[in-house]
């Protein structure tokens, strides 16, 4: 059992840690405990050692339009709340701009607006398959702004699932082939479906990286991801369950990954795929034993 040397150390260890897949709730959702939820996420992140949560809000989370098919009005409202929240939280929270690609003009306008306010990535959920040509304008904007696209993925979609036009690794690989200048962050290999299908589906697309988030904590999952994709294309992340994210951090020490590979997965890959300087302030505040100059690099 890995025992931290002092109680003051973060639960997830002392090396820097960035969560590139986070969500928050807003007053516009159907949860009366939205503020408690957000506070809990931030507090747990502090205890684990998360320096920066890169987060999005998907419309009203189903309150006035479906989570994965949010109306333009709901999504604009959500993005503005997210950008305000990120501003208020400083380095601790950075924002994605989430868009519904079925409303292309709206999506384009939202991205331009959010980039002007400091968003560092684009979130695509399941309003349209990832290989749909409707997403090309979004991908083109991602290339122009030099930001990654976090794409919600169902690992091996064998049928349609309710309330979403989910994509899987094969769909995303087609999109990534069409847009080689864009980095696509394949979401939550622990988030449902058959993760074993995803690795061979995207192995030949170096512009696809993937995050470890999701409630799934199958033994063998991270091992196979390392074998197929390698640490340079894997990002630790949490999504909706910080407990399973901490479990995966604990497990990283026992999978045969080197210290350098673990550092890649914890934070260095995030620094690489997001715009330059996106995490400088957060890393500068790190309690990492590494010299700040080295951390920042």
């Amino acid at each position: 059992m890995q025992t931290p040397s002092t109680a003051a150390l973060p639960l997830g260890g002392s090396l820097p840690l960035i969560d590139p897949h986070a969500h928050f709730h807003t007053p516009f959702t159907n949860r009366v405990d939205w503020a408690r939820y957000n506070a809990s996420r931030l507090a747990a992140g502090d205890r684990i050692g998360v320096l920066s949560h890169v987060a999005s809000v998907l419309g009203t989370w189903g309150h006035t339009s479906p989570t994965y098919f949010s109306s333009p009005a709901d999504q604009s409202q959500a993005n503005r709340w997210m950008l305000d929240f990120a501003e208020a939280q400083g380095a601790r929270v950075r924002a994605y701009v989430a868009v519904n690609p079925n409303f292309t003009q709206h999506a384009v306008a939202e991205i331009e607006y959010a980039m002007s306010r400091g968003a560092i990535g684009i979130k695509l959920a399941a309003g349209r398959r990832a290989d749909d040509v409707l997403l090309d304008d979004v991908a083109q904007l991602a290339a122009e702004h030099g930001v990654p696209i976090l794409q919600h993925i169902w690992q091996h979609r064998r049928r349609d699932w309710p309330n979403q036009d989910a994509s899987d690794g094969i769909d995303l690989a087609r999109m990534a082939t069409r847009h080689p200048r864009v980095t696509f962050l394949l979401a939550h290999i622990g988030g449902g479906g058959d993760w074993a299908h995803t690795f061979p589906a995207v192995v030949d697309n170096p512009n696809i990286v993937m995050d470890l988030s999701g409630s799934g904590i199958d033994r063998g999952m991270i091992d196979e991801a390392l074998r197929w994709i390698g640490a340079s294309r894997i990002l630790w992340a949490a999504d909706l369950t910080l407990c399973t994210a901490l479990t995966k951090l604990f497990a990283l020490d026992h999978l045969g990954a080197s210290e350098a590979e673990i550092a890649q997965m914890r934070w260095q890959n995030a620094v690489r795929i997001f715009p330059a300087g996106a995490f400088d302030a957060a890393l500068a505040a790190s309690k990492s034993p590494l010299p700040i100059s080295e951390v920042a690099q």
Partner: protein, 301 residues
């Protein structure tokens, strides 16, 4: 860190894991599911031992060969690994399966109502629960092996329902005689636990326990909520090896809210050791005496 996890990490608490298996899983590869590796993992994670089932047997029709394999495979490791064999109450001579379990010193027997296609309520399950209560063996019910979203197309069993759990807990004759079985439910989430727990009388509740491997921590904080409402006295530690990462219990304990974390207020969770004591609380004579009765109804008194 919470006091509970400090006590585990410091060696002050050496819990017994209530849910591990050996053997292959039919629907995907699981890395090295052998007893010698399990021993090393348990030591690393601060468990002093485990209740161990035979994973492939859950998907077989006849449980007897799997149980035989389980007993043989664990024999060199019995100081740390206790067998938790299957007893299938819709199978002829299931009493022999229970007798063998008692003879082997099993702290618990496993039932898989979903995989066996047993309806709610199945009279055999009630009768088996009675027998478990009489013999001081816990009845372990596995709600699921994997998340519903990821299951193999051939894996159509579904999850064990709260109605099934309530039916077993409510309807045993031994309950009415004050000798109800300890029932341990593994793999349940918050909703299933709440629907079961609050659908039982206090007396029935006192015999039903849940592992917390599938309960979410922050930001939903289901685990903290259940510790406050259902109570840590109904929750147990487990590893879920070899299917899931064994560190999940440690992570959940470490992320408990501050007011449940201080050493003074740290809740006391159950483990295999304490559940054995509860299961055997009504058993006056050691299990071996039952075998000498020479009857199929090994649990009879």
């Amino acid at each position: 860190m919470t006091a509970a996890i400090e006590r585990v990490q410091g060696g002050e608490l050496q819990p017994v894991d209530v849910n591990a298996w050996i053997g292959e899983y039919p629907f995907r590869d699981v890395p090295h599911p052998t007893p010698d590796v399990l021993i090393r993992v348990l030591e690393r994670e601060g468990f002093s031992g485990a209740w161990v089932g035979h994973l492939p047997g859950a998907f077989h029709r006849d449980p007897v060969p799997s149980n035989r394999h389980l007993y043989a495979a664990l024999r060199p490791y019995r100081r740390q690994l206790a067998p938790a064999p299957m007893v299938r109450p819709d199978w002829p001579k299931w009493e022999h399966q229970l007798r063998d379990a008692v003879d082997e010193g099993a702290p618990a027997i496993r039932v898989y109502p979903a995989q066996w296609g047993l309806p709610v309520p199945h009279p055999g399950l009630i009768e088996l629960a009675d027998a478990c209560g009489e013999t001081g063996v816990a009845m372990l019910v596995t709600v699921r092996f994997e998340d519903l979203r990821q299951r193999h197309p051939l894996d159509t069993a579904g999850d064990v329902s709260a109605a099934m759990l309530r039916a077993i807990a409510r309807r045993t004759g031994a309950v009415r005689a004050g000798r109800g079985a300890v029932m341990l439910v593994v793999g349940a989430g918050k909703d299933l636990i709440e629907e079961t727990h609050w659908g039982l009388t206090p007396d029935e509740q006192s015999r039903v326990f849940y592992d917390f491997h599938w309960i979410w921590g922050p930001p939903e904080d289901h685990f903290g909520q259940l510790v406050r409402t259902v109570g840590a006295q109904h929750l147990t530690l487990s590893s879920w090896w070899p299917l899931r990462l064994t560190q999940q219990c440690r992570a959940l304990l470490a992320l408990l809210p501050d007011d449940l974390s201080s050493r003074a207020s740290a809740p006391d969770f159950h483990d295999g050791r304490s559940l054995v004591a509860l299961a055997r609380r009504h058993v006056d004579s050691p299990p071996v005496a039952l075998k000498e009765r020479g009857t199929d109804r090994v649990y009879g008194r």
